[in-house]
């Protein structure tokens, strides 16, 4: 089942890329993209069901998800400014790509129960999930990354996440889809993208070292004390 989930996810993404390149079936793209995003999320959770994680690991991921979700609510004073992206990134960085994906997608889903579910929910789950995955890969490759480098990566996450979020609106509700209309739609949200990116950078510069220490300590505790 775990392998099947990986193969199917890869297959869906490949088909999606192919369709985007050919551009012949523009009217069906919103439907197909939405189904692919939902399928990837479902497959990821199916993969999670077959993982070896125990209740303690699950509780830690759930706690980080709630923590990331709460971050959205407390920084509501400024649009685009919220620490969720940074918390998801740092969780993925310390715990790994798959855990990062789970923290990101669960944080989006749960916080939207309180803030309002909508067509944006699967996309937020997907966007923050991707942020978690990339950070996890970075964490595995370079565990001792400098604060500055990680902060620059977080800065870029601001654009990555917002561009994924813009996709559902652009693909679904702009016709005809031309390069000009797409660029215009993205340009309208550029101010928020920049604010998000800057706030990610600041959150990382201020909190990175402190939170990495905390998370690594808990990761060690998980590895030492848990009995399967």
């Amino acid at each position: 089942m775990r392998k099947l989930s990986i193969y199917l996810t890869t297959f869906f993404i490949s088909i999606l890329l192919f369709l985007t390149i050919t551009g012949k079936i523009q009217e069906y793209i919103p439907l197909f993209v939405t189904i692919v995003v939902l399928a990837i999320l479902i497959l990821s959770y199916m993969y999670f069901e077959k993982s070896a994680m125990g209740t303690k690991e699950i509780a830690v991921i759930a706690t980080l998800s709630a923590f990331a979700g709460v971050g959205r609510a407390i920084f509501a004073f400024a649009p685009g400014v919220q620490p969720t992206t940074f918390i998801v990134a740092i969780s993925g960085f310390v715990f790994g790509p798959y855990e990062g994906f789970l923290v990101g997608s669960t944080a989006a889903f749960i916080s939207n129960i309180f803030l309002g579910q909508g067509p944006w929910s699967p996309w937020q789950m997907f966007g923050w999930g991707i942020v978690g995955v990339i950070s996890g890969i970075i964490g595995k490759a370079r565990a001792n990354i400098s604060v500055e480098k990680f902060s620059v990566i977080c800065f870029l996450y601001g654009f990555l996440f917002d561009w994924i979020m813009n996709l559902w609106h652009v693909l679904g509700y702009i016709r005809p889809l031309t390069l000009k209309s797409i660029i215009s739609a993205y340009a309208l949200g550029l101010t928020f993208d920049v604010l998000h990116a800057i706030s990610n950078f600041l959150f990382s510069m201020i909190f990175f070292e402190r939170l990495v220490r905390v998370l690594r300590r808990f990761k060690r505790r998980l590895e030492i004390t848990y009995i399967r």
């Binding site: 069906y28 959770y45 690991e57 669960t106 889903f109 749960i110 909508g118 509700y173 909190f207 004390t225």
Partner: protein, 292 residues
């Protein structure tokens, strides 16, 4: 009398919602979209959630503005000119498309709101905990922690305000910096608590044995009826969609037969019948029991 749509199985509601989502995303026919809108109105009004219709508009307003602006300003296709401004033609076609795309966006929002109303969270958790125990456990723990963490954060903020921390600093950096002690404390104490939650969940049978179910949902007659009807709806819709009678491109030309034709009318009536069907199936007997 308020209708209770929670009597349907989670899978029935999920399946019907997916069918409606497919139609909304892939359909351009105003008549069919109106049919779906009527279905949502019936659900909202009959289950006492009329306020959600207004709330949906509130969420929808900013997206509507952006959709309208982009489609009207940046798309120049169309032949019937409404007015000219800033050296640019504003066409009737682009206005109609903007309204239609915005309408689809509103329908998608209503769909998610309707799912929230119709799907009973306890029953959904009960169902999914036997099928996907790990995901359900994770969602349950997060769901439980979210409000308590939020309250704790407010309390911590008050304490640190009294101690002199200024959360209303001038720059973004100052404001973020003020949260250093709060977020660190909250994260550490929450993660400490996570270990206790994990152990408690294990003791209560999560991932350690078979858990009993208090109120197991069964896939009853009403679920078969609605599921089969929804399946029939999508088959009929796809038939007319593939045959080309639902193809609707305003930029090619405004033609009444593109709005109202056999395919659009059939699917429209089927959507109204779906609304009638769920009303009949959720009708209560005199003793308060459901018919099926």
């Amino acid at each position: 009398m308020k209708r209770n749509y929670n009597i349907f199985h989670v899978l029935t509601l999920a399946f019907t919602s997916i069918i409606l989502m497919i139609i909304i995303f892939s359909c351009e026919s105003p008549l069919i979209l109106t049919g779906i809108f009527i279905y949502f109105l019936v659900v909202f009004i009959t289950c006492g959630h009329s306020k959600d219709i207004k709330d949906g508009f509130k969420y929808f307003a900013p997206f509507f503005a952006v959709t309208l602006i982009i489609n009207m300003i940046f798309v120049t296709d169309g032949t019937i000119m409404l007015f000219k401004a800033f050296g640019k033609d504003f066409t009737l076609e682009s206005l109609i498309v903007s309204f239609m795309l915005s309408f689809k966006l509103l329908l998608i929002m209503y769909l998610f709101m309707m799912m929230g109303i119709m799907i009973d969270s306890d029953r959904a958790v009960s169902f999914f905990s036997s099928k996907m125990p790990k995901s359900t456990l994770m969602m349950m723990v997060t769901f439980k922690l979210f409000p308590s963490m939020k309250n704790r954060l407010v309390t911590l903020k008050q304490i640190y305000s009294i101690r002199g921390v200024d959360f209303e600093g001038k720059g973004m950096r100052e404001r973020i910096k003020a949260f250093i002690p709060i977020l660190s404390i909250l994260l550490e104490s929450s993660l400490d608590g996570a270990f206790d939650i994990g152990e408690a969940a294990y003791v209560k049978g999560f991932l350690s044995g078979k858990r009993t179910v208090y109120d197991r949902q069964t896939f009853g007659r009403k679920d078969y009826i609605v599921t089969l009807y929804a399946f029939l709806l999508i088959v009929v819709y796809l038939f007319f969609r593939i045959s080309g009678s639902l193809n609707f491109d305003i930029y090619i030309g405004i033609d009444v037969s593109k709005f109202i034709n056999l395919g659009a009318i059939t699917v429209f009536i089927m959507l109204l019948m779906l609304a009638a069907l769920i009303l009949i199936l959720t009708e209560e007997n005199e003793d308060g029991l459901h018919r099926y």
